[in-house]
Symmetry: C3
Subunit: 149 residues, 3 copies
């Protein structure tokens, strides 16, 4: 089964910076805020790119139904890049280098197509900003939308 | 060495949903199907974005030559996010939470430039849909192509 | 706080192949070279996509300040996908399969928005080509820029 949409037109380009206040080691579902940017862009068919301007917080698309999924992910990631490891870079605290490592394993940017003015996220998908530092921060996510109306 | 292509033109935008039937814990090479979408788009120079609408299957670009590479990847990933770990989220079976974890480590979206009407995949690169669940599923990959003809 | 930019216009599309000579198991900061492509594109507001045409080298955005961060990342990744593991695919040397695994965990493509003619990288972010093989290689990164002037 194929669904097709095709256009030849002038391009619409829209960009906004989304500021997100996080709490320490947490997931913030930013799907709604990013969808609002898409709505404001007026783009009907196109591509939305989210980009996080940090290396100790990252993006990940995960299940938005059972919160236990996110708790499991957080615990498992803590074991994969543990604070208890000896890290040479420790001047910014024991949580900083694990935060960089966890960011390297997840996403700095995510590209999500837009159809009929909406992000094509699956039913159970949420776009999350994953704060890897132990304390909350003010994080910047650049949202870029381009396409046709 | 630099190769350059540059255009100012009307944009072409093309989108299709690709349905992929997978078998359990497997790699499906979808390079050809995605290239077909690029061909149908009529885009000569542009960007193709593949996006998987699930959080227990993911995308990865890997070697398409020796199948042992994929077998090694699968075994190693099984150790990295094992079923034997205690996961809080276990209501959908012991293979579900490892599938989410393995998806978090690989890709939900991949952006591949298009040149002369073709994905610029390297000689040994294939784009794979990685099914992380123990049984086969019908998976949806949204393919978005934009650029100029 | 929101910053907004919006355009309806003819699209500019620009593509270049960047050749990068690496040394073995190293990070090469390619931010400046990619920014030069953005400058040459004449795109003011748009999207830049970097794509690596290999599966034993990858892209990652990491801190560009303290070099100890990159050393830590390299050591930790060596433990995550170690050469000492038994890999079935060993015909290209003991460093090849770990290189594929490390590439699978990091990025084949990265999408970075462009604003006012510049990549919107955060202050401490650098875009790195991560060579995972034990010896240096000549690597190809395709840089695609699209947007409006």
């Amino acid at each position: 089964m194929w669904e097709k949409i095709a256009y030849v037109a002038l391009v619409k380009v829209h960009q906004q910076v989304l500021e997100v206040r996080t709490s320490g080691r947490s997931f913030t579902n930013i799907s709604r805020e990013v969808q609002q940017v898409v709505a404001q862009s007026g783009v009907s068919t196109g591509l939305c790119t989210a980009f996080v301007q940090h290396t100790s917080a990252s993006l990940v698309i995960q299940e938005n139904a059972d919160p236990a999924v996110l708790r499991d992910l957080a615990r498992w990631m803590s074991d994969l890049a543990p604070e208890s490891r000896h890290w040479e870079h420790d001047s910014e605290g024991p949580d900083d280098m694990p935060a960089h490592a966890r960011s390297a394993l997840t996403r700095s940017s995510e590209g999500i197509p837009v159809a009929r003015g909406r992000l094509v996220l699956g039913t159970w998908q949420g776009l999350y900003l994953w704060e890897h530092r132990a304390t909350g921060h003010r994080r910047r996510v650049v949202v870029h939308v381009s396409g046709v109306s």
